[in-house]
């Protein structure tokens, strides 16, 4: 059995989770996911400003606090915090560090700000087999952070489909941190969800696992909390990954006194293609929300719309009127509707001009004019799209420093 914990479900998750997981009890490996589709865009913009950046800076802070503790306890750290610059992050860590590279496909997609293939688990396994104490990757599938250490520990083969699928399920349960332990959980009133502990998977040689958490931590690990996370961000029951196709309709969950047992998962060979996360700059975005209180809500909305269109034109404006108002209300807030307007435009000047035009209406529009928050200067926004490339076009590499 190998005991693998998770200490991060996104870039910005609980900073102290790393320490909580290391101090809370025994672990063999501690993993962390820092990369969402949106995060790649944020890191892409960091990298544009400073080419030595492009990784998750919060992980570095966690390592300043906890690396010595992890090394002391013999806990291996496996994270995708490398983002767009795994080597840059790896070189900042004082340990035996391995990093995984080869996911960057910007040369193949030159129009994109970021273009990264979702790599698999085998380069992570290779780093660990060569003795890495810390492994940092760029874009790998979230589940690979768990599959890699399990595959290395048990010496699994590349066609151990059921084992790889079982570990993929464990990885999917862990990848969003406390979403497996009672965070964001529909039946939160039935548990103590004040401060859920981070999840742990105890994976067996056959790929089955027990999902649990350290004793004394909050939240809960039940068939329901685990089901909720299994359903997060999935599509068809054939869950395609770079190393294995995992059949979600074969997963069996059963309650255990320490958590939930997962077994029965079947796997089959993965597709010939790898998914690529592409982010391009879409233009500039700006937004504000007008508050419409009391009578004539539709007419008030109509007036302010007409005025803004008159000032800067209709192009790129998106309006939504939320009728949150109640007639004859006993509080001002309950009497108010919200009119959201967003501008998306290729022209930064127009995105800025939107703010001025909206504010200039302040004494010249509908009765009771005010906004919830003033518009900003306009910020760039990204457009995400997935692409697929043949796996032969991608050469993933494990490097040991």
């Amino acid at each position: 059995m190998i005991r693998i914990g998770n200490a991060s479900g996104f870039y910005g998750d609980r900073l102290s989770a790393m320490r909580e997981q290391l101090e809370g009890g025994h672990l063999d490996v501690l993993t962390g996911d820092y990369l969402a589709e949106l995060t790649m865009l944020i890191l892409g913009r960091d990298r544009m400003k400073d080419s030595s950046l492009g990784y998750a800076k919060t992980f570095l802070r966690q390592m300043e606090d906890c690396l010595a503790l992890a090394l002391d306890q013999g806990v291996k750290i496996v994270v995708n915090a490398g983002g767009l610059n795994p080597e840059g992050l790896a070189r900042k860590l004082d340990a035996k560090v391995g990093y995984v590279t080869g996911d960057d496909l910007k040369a193949r997609f030159p129009e994109a700000l970021t273009a990264n293939a979702y790599l698999g688990a085998w380069e992570i396994a290779e780093c660990l087999n060569q003795g890495a104490q810390v492994v940092v990757t760029g874009r790998v599938t979230d589940a690979s952070l768990v599959v890699g250490p399990a595959a290395a520990h048990f010496g699994w083969a590349r066609d151990d489909w059921d084992r790889l699928a079982g570990a993929t399920v464990a990885g999917h349960v862990l990848e969003c941190g406390t979403q497996a332990t009672g965070g964001n959980y529909s039946f939160f009133t039935e548990i103590d969800a004040t401060r859920p502990g981070f999840p742990i998977a105890e994976i067996d040689e056959d790929g089955a696992c027990l999902i649990t958490k350290h004793d004394g931590t909050g939240g809960a690990v039940t068939v329901d909390t685990v089901t909720a996370q299994l359903l997060y961000e999935i599509g068809a029951p054939e869950y395609l990954g770079p190393d294995v196709t995992t059949h979600f309709d074969t997963i069996r969950l059963s309650p255990d006194e320490r958590g939930v047992r997962i077994s029965g998962t079947r796997g089959s060979p993965p597709p010939d293609t790898l998914k690529v996360c592409l982010n391009t700059l879409g233009g500039f975005k700006n937004a504000t929300t007008f508050v419409l209180t009391g009578l004539d809500v539709d007419e008030k909305a109509e007036l302010v719309k007409r005025q803004l269109h008159d000032a800067i034109g209709e192009e790129g404006l998106h309006w939504t009127l939320a009728r949150t108002d109640h007639a004859d209300a006993d509080t001002e807030e309950r009497a108010s509707a919200l009119l959201h307007v967003t501008i998306k435009t290729a022209d930064l000047k127009r995105a800025k001009g939107f703010s001025r035009a909206a504010i200039e209406l302040a004494l010249a529009s509908y009765p009771g004019f005010h906004v919830t928050a003033p518009p900003s200067d306009g910020t760039p926004f990204g457009v995400y799209r997935a692409a697929y490339v043949h796996r032969d076009e991608v050469s993933a590499k494990a490097v040991l420093l």
């Binding site: 949106l38 309709d249 457009v383 995400y384």
Partner: protein, 106 residues
Amino acid sequence: MKRPLGTIAGARSGDKGGDANLGVWVRSEEAYEWLNGFLTTEKLRELLPEAQEVSRYELPNLKALNFVLHGLLGEGVAGSTRFDPQAKALGEWLRSREVEIPEELL
């Protein structure tokens, strides 16, 4: 008996680019049998009129259904002008819709 679907069903939703996913699960075999017959693609569109093209998948082993709502989020999280651009609360919206639930399941 008309009750919010969330009286007996849990849900979790999220984003994948411009698509949203919405998983719904229940806690007994009887409830799953009912849910599977009740919550068709058409019914989902009726309960969530903002949904357009919808794919539906059955996961009887998890007593769950998974829906993919294609194109709901436009150009994805960063570019979306939609309220709740990551579809985080789509599931809680569905749970709040009042539907006819057999009394023995309540």
